[in-house]
Amino acid sequence: MLRRKVTVKYPLERLDVSNRFHGLLALPIDPETGIDRCIICFQCERICPDRCIHIEAEGKGKERVLTRFDIEMDKCCYCGYCVEVCPTEAIVFVPHYEASTYHRGRLLYDLQDLRRAAPKEPIARGIVGGGPR
């Protein structure tokens, strides 16, 4: 009865999440190249159980550039398969989890949104180091 209250005043303070937490998805910028690490292999698009990732690219060979990388976050089930299959750790989970908006359209995250969502400092890249892939 005399113990400290355990209630967390949610919008003002937040609980820490684990470093494996399945939060929102992001495409972090590689500090060396100044661009994301995506090599346009389409593996995440193919593995997604909800088919919520849409990728388009232009050009050939080394000139190939990403023109579209959309994630429909309203469909996403946060299973983490895209993070698991990505060979370059281009797509990662971030600890941020508050995605609610007033408009459904805002849940369609495009390339700019996903790059902006990535934190500046290094973060846990999904679940790694889990034995053989």
Binding site: R20, C48, C77, C79, G80, Y81, I127, G130, G131
Partner: protein, 367 residues
């Protein structure tokens, strides 16, 4: 001249706080007495069996999490992975099998805590609800540290588990078990000798052993009526054959017996997890299975002991990347059909007590 009385049909649900989902009960009443109860299901049908035919074997792990019983995601993943592994002849490594046992037993405790808390609050005991959810939160935190999810994990993979346990997790889990076991005694003290609780549950909603077998009810509902059947003992999967544990069986078949069986199961689950943590071998956690795996032509049926009962998955493969047909044998579905027998002759006020005691989750009933 005698007064004319007639039977009253009462709709309970589909939106009722104590149905734990959306269930409509058509209760026929004679005054206060229940003459008949017909459950009307289908409000939470998610067509998961059909959806699984359109997704690959690997993708389906994400689907069984939420399409089936959402409170026991890890037990669902376990039975699905075991079925695919049997179909494709994949042998997961030792360490992964121990980790799976640890997680499915933790999930069993979490599920029983939700049941105990919500049932107790249905019967008017608010304290138990708060205490149960406090402990459940700790289990969810343990899950989050390993799987990244709290309810839907997608942690088990065909041929193992996704990630190894982080450093210090085993000790943390052991500390939680040491903390948790005395808490079970606390719930015991709050309820088992509570006269109000006893009056509402002891002798209420009886079902005989023969009826339980006839209805196909399993799990704690069956074991409370004297059916000493637990898949973990009868057909051991994973590493349950190496674990020492008892299967609590009672003869009474009433709500109180079902409560006692689940309480004892929580204690046994702690015992199993302790053994698994102690014997946890090192080594690999995952056999190499391609993300685009194809299962050979054939079929496989695997059943496991989920917190609600005998949970089975039957997969038919035509050799493609996706299953040809998946059939889920949901324990809640069979348990729900024992409800009519349990309710006959009781008062309308007992509906909630009896319905809560069978621990149904409607997404498991409807699938």
């Amino acid at each position: 001249m005698a007064l004319r009385t007639e039977e009253l049909m009462l709709n309970m649900g589909p939106q009722h706080p104590s149905t734990h989902g959306v269930l409509r009960l058509i209760v026929t009443l004679d005054g206060e007495n229940i003459v008949d109860v017909q459950p009307d299901i289908g409000y939470l049908h998610s067509s998961v069996e059909k959806m699984m035919e359109h997704r690959t074997y690997v993708q389906n792990v994400a689907l069984v999490d939420r399409g089936m019983d959402y409170l026991i995601a890890l037990n669902n993943e376990e039975v699905y992975c075991l079925a695919v592994e049997r179909l494709a002849g994949i042998q997961p490594p030792e360490r992964a099998r121990y980790i799976r046992v640890i997680f499915s037993e933790l999930n069993r405790i979490a599920s029983h805590l939700v049941w105990l808390g919500t049932w107790a609050i249905d019967l008017g005991a608010t304290t138990v609800f708060l205490w149960c959810f406090r402990e459940r939160e700790m289990i969810l935190d343990l899950f989050e540290k390993v799987t990244g999810g709290r309810l839907h994990h997608v942690y088990f993979r065909i041929g193992g588990v996704y990630a190894d346990l982080p450093e210090g997790w085993v000790e943390e889990c052991g500390a939680f078990l040491d903390y948790f076991l005395p808490r079970v005694d606390e719930y015991d003290k709050l309820l088992t000798e509570n006269p109000i609780f006893l009056a509402r549950t002891r002798g209420v909603g009886k079902i005989s052993r023969a009826d339980v077998i006839a209805m196909g009810a399993s799990g704690p509902v069956g074991r409370a009526s004297g059916v000493a059947y637990d898949v973990r003992k009868a057909a051991p999967y994973e590493v349950y054959d190496r674990m020492e544990f008892e299967v609590p069986v009672l003869e009474e078949g009433d709500c109180f017996a079902r409560y006692l069986v689940r309480l004892a199961e929580m204690r046994q689950a702690v015992r199993i997890i302790r053994q698994a943590l102690r014997d946890l071998p090192g080594g690999e956690i995952r056999t190499r299975v391609p993300m685009t795996m194809k299962a050979p032509r054939g079929e496989a049926y695997v059943h496991t002991e989920s917190p609600r009962g005998d949970l089975g998955i039957h997969i038919v493969s035509d050799g493609a990347e996706t299953p040809y047909r998946v059939k889920i044998r949901a324990p809640s579905f069979s348990n729900l059909y024992a409800l009519t027998e349990m309710m006959k002759g009781w008062k309308v006020a007992d509906v909630i007590a009896i319905l809560g005691s069978i621990d149904i989750v409607l997404s498991d009933v409807d699938r």
